[in-house]
Subunit: 325 residues, 2 copies
């Protein structure tokens, strides 16, 4: 089984590649080759028992997608994207990578006459406020960002190419990834991870919103689990509705803090500094809080067990089991 990961240098792509290297197989079939594609060189995962090719390039450039699918992959994970903030600031770049890149990828697959499973990572950004308290699976997509628009269009194209038999697509709308490893960034959603990751590492973190703010989260581990399930689920189980909201955890900031206290104690929680920020509070007010993701649950996509479990997984995977005293 040949696997390609587009966006292989990103956080989720890297973790997916590491998991594939560890498992050596996907859906019971041995992996024979893995290609990691990104705009910067991805790092080949350690210990892979199959050849790993690292490719770099500009996804929508002429001939690029043809080059990517020339190896006739069985599974293509399409995680490559300009992120939300950048796509909003640079309209043309966002459309070029997130829409034209996806269009060219699908067209190249069709032209090659291969019929791979294509796993497309969409986002809860396809939804736009106002929302019902819990967003049902049949809720309409009225994005309030260009990124969300591009993802919603990708979903539609994926479903149509699948319906026409050109490929076998599954789109998954990832929750906000928490705890996101790495440095704090300026994303408006960054604090959801910052207030867990930084205190655990001995650093202070700023919490700009009130404790009752609720959001929809999944750990990096759960996200990789979603990708593997999406790669291996029977297409017939899905029918023509190929895009699924992934099961996250709806937790409030207060519940996040309580979970951190339970896992790491008062001294770690004391590193969270409350500094209300009306601007960020305003942005976050327009985000989804909770989904009723019945369909993906019924299809065997597995959410995190609890926010405490998310924190413990982060401590294991990113901190070698050690919390900063």
């Amino acid at each position: 089984m040949k696997v390609v990961i587009l966006g292989g240098a990103g956080m989720v792509g890297r973790k997916l590649a590491e998991r594939l290297a560890r498992d050596g197989e996907l859906g019971g079939k041995a992996i024979s080759a893995l290609t990691l594609y990104d705009v910067v060189p991805a790092t080949a995962p350690a210990g892979a028992r199959f050849p790993v090719e690292v490719m770099t390039g500009d996804l929508p450039a002429a001939g690029e997608c043809e080059r990517i699918v020339a190896g006739r992959p069985d599974v293509v994970f399409h995680l490559a994207a300009i992120v939300s903030g950048e796509a909003e600031q640079d309209f043309d770049k966002g459309y070029r990578i997130n829409l034209e890149g996806t269009q060219r990828l699908l067209a190249a697959i069709r032209a090659a006459g291969i019929h791979p499973r294509v796993v497309f990572t969409s986002s809860i950004a396809v939804f736009g406020a106002p929302f019902p308290e819990a967003i049902p699976d049949e809720y309409f997509t009225t994005p309030l960002t260009s990124y969300g628009t591009q993802k919603a269009i990708g979903e539609l194209l994926l479903a149509d190419y699948t319906r026409k038999g050109f490929l076998d697509g599954v789109g998954i709308r990832l929750p906000t990834i928490c705890v996101r490893p790495g440095k704090p960034n300026k994303a408006a959603s960054g604090f959801f991870s910052n207030i867990i990751r930084e205190p655990l590492a001995g650093h202070e973190a700023v919490l700009p919103v009130s404790d009752d703010v609720m959001h929809w989260h999944a750990s990096p581990r759960a996200a990789v689990g979603f990708l593997l399930r999406a790669a291996t689920i029977e297409g017939d189980a899905l029918g023509p509705r190929r895009n699924l909201t992934m099961p996250g955890l709806a937790v409030t900031v207060g519940e996040q803090v309580a979970a951190l206290r339970a896992v790491a104690g008062d001294a770690v929680v004391a590193r969270i500094r409350r500094e209300p920020d009306a601007f960020i509070q305003g942005i976050v007010a327009g985000w989804p809080r909770r989904f009723d993701a019945r369909r993906s649950l019924a299809l065997g996509f597995e959410p995190d067990a609890s926010f405490e479990a998310i924190i413990r997984a982060h401590v294991e995977d990113e901190l070698g089991g050690k919390i900063a005293a």
Copy 2:
């Protein structure tokens, strides 16, 4: 006020142009110029008190959309499309005209730095079965045709360009137009119009489905009314959710026949020949039956009063008031 109609040679485009010629104004502002664009030459409406330019061309060809918007229109009606059946048979042509054409039009408007009201005719084909009994305004778009996919993508692009301030878009999902004038065609939906139009003209018509089949209709007059309302409604009344399901009439075939009897009598109804066709019945079973189009009703879009009124309007507009004995 300068107006452009893309798809000006089509049935709805023609009726819209005739109405504009009759009214001489749009939203209280005098029309100073009308451009009718299509792949074949449109017919300029009789009696217009403003200049009418007839343009032909291939919408997505290089430079074409720039040429269309060079006159800096205030209102652009974008009705141009490859129809459902053809877009399904010719995948590339459908995407080229219905998606790339729309993309290029929006991009040309943005590049010209004008901010016209853009009225985009979408379709109830953006929805795909299974459906609830009445489809609510917040229902998701899971099209089961490439045409429906292209229209759903057009809606998303229209909303994003509007949100970014590049133009001022309103998308309207037209019901099935009934009674469609002209000759019977091979569209699976053709019988909804055929069973009214042909008997009124003295011809036999075939009814391939049972009397309990329900569908969502609007007359050509109502469709033109929707277009005018969409052209003149205040954008602020819509907010960022720019795409609206138009208010149709949900009527069964049995109710259509009863209305024909009430308007034209038994002898006309006797020209309907029942010839059940399992294939067409199967296609129609996957179509929407009824919508709960609250939002467009609240926004002042006016549905037909009754199916009898639809038939009477057809007799007036297409038959000069005369029913074939």
